[in-house]
Subunit: 314 residues, 2 copies
């Protein structure tokens, strides 16, 4: 039985706890801040009943889930005997570099150390340590217990078997891993998000459309397809003869747009203030926490609905 | 009572018929090809029962919907007395130019002529006609009876009141209009799609990730948020202090990515063939029609589920 250790228990740590525990794994959790560790367990305790009711706990009870999550009082205790360590430490390079040096001396020789980092390639914090070939990035989208995607990104020295085993474990716990062949800034998810945000800010800065209407273009339009089909499948089904037919017809139009869009701009203070103002008109600053709770409730319900729809239409 | 005329009855014409008829409007339909006109009515007849069962016909019966759709045997008959004409003719400029000249002589003085075009600004086919100030683009996403977004784009000479009335009508029939302040290539929706496709093809061309995994990054990741929140609301809820806080922390990172992404490329034959091959491994060419039917079934069910979830969490 694979033993899991979660190191770093912010929001993502607690969510990872749910992912592994509902799949039947024993999980130890560690955070240098006892309050953070407690908060992660409290998060699971708070979220589990609703998730169970929605069928998002894989048939397990909240009590069983909680019984599988074991707080550890030291890093050594947390990772002792662990086969897989999911590191979700703060996104600061010196912290990760120091942590990985420590981990290298504590983990089993064949243990995998996977980082939840969204911002740093594994090569930036594992280069100096012994056994660096066991290190990899396994980047989730928050919160992973609701959003299945995990990006697996090897450092140049990551052993292929480590990628394979991480991929297999992610599938075993119900996540959907994708594999990057090499390190690249932003990985795939944030590069796609970057492309959309760059254009979104540009359209607002140029006075073409409001920020509110850009949001509607996605949530009432494009996003309805991308919820269950990626961009390639979407265009593949949008031409009689599939994606090749689509590209033959529309490739030149998209190339013209791409040339127009090759116009990188920093987001100026004035531009950000414009967007901020429009957002605050929809959700006042003191309503952000409630709106985040709304988002998480909707996300859980929509993920449940999607599973049902895809199952009925399999 | 506003009378609607639909001119051009491809797939989008039939879907527009559903939109207006379920909202209670009388609709005349015309297409120079009687077969296309019949196909649009057959589409409505075929689709209506399932839509009624899913609660997507606004409580109307399929019979009532069909009774409101009146085929016309000439363009003059179709638009006679119509207050709003939704034009969905083929996407070829000479066809639209000739059609608008004809329409100018047939429609009521205060009628609005809105085009479903995704590719041409209204200025490219209305400049020469009398009463060009009544013309506007109202670009839907297919199929509009399931996807609410409509982009409203005025030509430089479109009367502001025409934009207002088109916007109001779209809201009255349950669509979600967004307003562009001026004409721009690709409008908003296809510019956002362009940004994503450009990056998606680039990542595949550079060997970073497979086309299949790009699709998963969206449909198992980013798309889960964008289904019900736009890109601005997504980042607004992803930092403690809202979008301004998010931009202060991550703006420089996104600017660096934007500079890397300012690399427009045509989609080469080899690249398209790579994507085509991966798509065909998932959906063989002879399975595309079945997969499109699957997409439409899923879309209808997911739209229904989304309405329910948003209503319950209002």
């Amino acid at each position: 039985m694979t033993k899991i250790a979660l190191v770093g228990c912010g929001l993502v740590g607690g969510s990872w706890g749910l992912v592994f525990a509902r799949a039947g794994y024993e999980v130890t959790l560690y955070d240098p801040s006892p309050a953070s560790l407690q908060a992660a367990l409290d998060f699971v305790r708070g979220a589990a009943p609703a998730l169970a009711a929605q069928g998002l706990l894989n048939g397990e009870t909240p009590e069983t889930i909680l019984s599988r999550l074991k707080p550890a009082s030291s890093l050594a205790e947390a990772v002792s005997g662990a086969d897989y360590i999911q590191e979700s430490a703060p996104e600061r390079l010196p912290i990760k570099q120091a942590l990985y040096k420590e981990l290298a001396n504590l983990v089993k020789p064949d243990a995998i150390i996977a980082s939840s980092t969204s911002g740093f390639p594994a090569s930036s914090f594992t280069g100096e340590i012994e056994g660096r070939e066991r290190c990899v990035v396994a980047h989730p989208i928050n919160p992973p217990h609701l959003i299945p995607l995990v990006e697996i990104i090897p450092a140049p020295w990551t052993a292929p078997a480590v990628v394979e085993r991480t991929d297999a474990l992610m599938r075993a716990v119900g996540q959907v891993p994708i594999r990057l062949n090499r390190e690249i800034a932003g990985f795939v998810v944030n590069r796609l998000q970057s492309a959309v945000l760059a254009e979104a800010f540009r359209l607002v800065e140029d006075g073409v459309v409001s920020a509110t209407d850009v949001d509607a273009a996605m949530s009432e339009g494009l996003g309805l397809r991308w919820f269950f089909m990626g961009p390639f499948e979407t265009i593949d089904l949008n031409a009689q003869g599939g994606v090749a037919d689509y590209c033959a017809k529309l490739g030149p139009m998209y190339y013209d747009l791409a040339k127009e869009q090759a116009d990188p701009r920093p987001w100026s203070e004035a531009l950000v203030a414009t967007v901020e103002k429009q957002r605050r008109a929809k959700t006042p600053a003191d309503g952000l926490d409630a709106r985040k709770a709304w988002r998480d409730r909707c996300l859980a319900a929509l993920v449940t609905a999607k599973r049902k729809v895809l199952k009925e239409n399999a």
